[in-house]
Assembly symmetry: none
Homo-oligomer: 186 residues x 2
Amino acid sequence: MEMEGEAGVVMSGGFNAGRVGVKCGRWNPTTEQVKVLMDLFRAGLRTPSTEQIQRISNHLSYFGKVESKNVFYWFQNHKARERHHKKRRRGSSSDEEAETEHKFVISPDCKREAKLNHRSVLSNFAKEEEQITWPERTGRDIETLELFPLKAYDLEMEKVRCTRTTTEIKEISIFNPPLELRLSFL
Amino acid sequence: MEMEGEAGVVMSGGFNAGRVGVKCGRWNPTTEQVKVLMDLFRAGLRTPSTEQIQRISNHLSYFGKVESKNVFYWFQNHKARERHHKKRRRGSSSDEEAETEHKFVISPDCKREAKLNHRSVLSNFAKEEEQITWPERTGRDIETLELFPLKAYDLEMEKVRCTRTTTEIKEISIFNPPLELRLSFL
DNA sequence: GATGTATGAATGAACG
DNA sequence: CGTTCATTCATACATC
C-alpha cells in the first residue's frame, strides 16, 4: 500500500470546488477547469495546436495545477470518446443494449496482420519473413460522421485556428457569453 | 455499420510472448524488447536504416514476436515524443515546476509488465523465463555491418566487430548483454 | 470493500 | 517528420 505522501500535495489553488481527495497521482481537473475545457470542446475545438494548448493550460492554471500535457490528453481523450460514443449510439429508442462494456467494442475485426498501407518507407519491410500482402487500402476512412450540429462550430474554430490572433474572434461565441472570453486567450 | 459485432474477434495471432492485454491487435513489446530498443535509442540511434531495422527486429524476435515495422514505428514514435515532451513540458505557471509530478520522460513504458495486480482476475498464467536457445545464428544476419558512429561506442563497436562471433554467439548472455555487445548485431 | 464506470495517461499505428 | 487516430492501461470515483 502506498500512502501517497502526507502533505506534499498542496494544491495551490483552493478552487477545487467539488473534488474530493486531491492526491495528485494524476491530474484531477477541477470543476472549473472541466467547465472551461468542455466549453471549448463544445465550441468546436477538437485538436488544439501547441500554442493553444499553452494558452489553455496557462489559463486553467488559475483554477488549479495543470500542465500542458493534461490539456493535450484531455482533448485527445474527449474527442476519441465522443466518437466512440457516437458510433455505438445507434437508435437509442430502446436502450436494450446498454453496452455492458464500453471498452470492449473491438468492432474493427482485428486488422492486425494486414493493416499497414503501402507507405514508401515501410515498403522495405514488405518481405518480412512470410509474404505479407498489404491489402491495398482503397478507402479506409469511414469518417465524416457528424451526427449533431458540431460542424458549424468547426468552421468557426477553423477560422480561429488559422488566425490565432486572439483579437479577430468575432462570431465564435454564439451561445455562452463567457465562451467568448474563454476563447480569447486562444 | 458493423459496430457491436462481437463475433469479430478472431484472434488469429498465434502466441504472444505472454504479454498481458495481448488480444490480437497491436504489437506489445516485451520488457526485454523495450530494454534493447531503449538502449539503442540512448546510444544515439534515432533513425535506423532499413538494414538496421531488419537486424534489430530479427534480434528482438528472440524475445517475442515482432516485425520490422514495429521497430520502425517504435523509433519514429520515440523520437517524435522525445521532442514533444520537451516542447510541452510546461504550462503550469502556478507554482514551481518540480512538484510531485513524475517526470513524464520517455520511459514509463515499463508498466505493462506488472499490471494484473488489482482485480484483474484474468488468468495470469505465469510466463516465466522460458529457456530459448539462440536461434541458429548462422552469421548471415549479423554480418558485421558497420554502425554509423554512435557516441563513444565506436571503439567498442570496433572490438565487437572483430570478434565476429557468428556461430559462437551462444556464449554471450542474451538475457542481459552489455550494450556494446547488444549493438553488435547492428 | 469489491465491482463497475469515468477518465487520465500511455503508446502503437497511421496519416498528410 | 510532425500530427493525429486508435487502443489499451491505470486510477479516481461512484455505487451497492
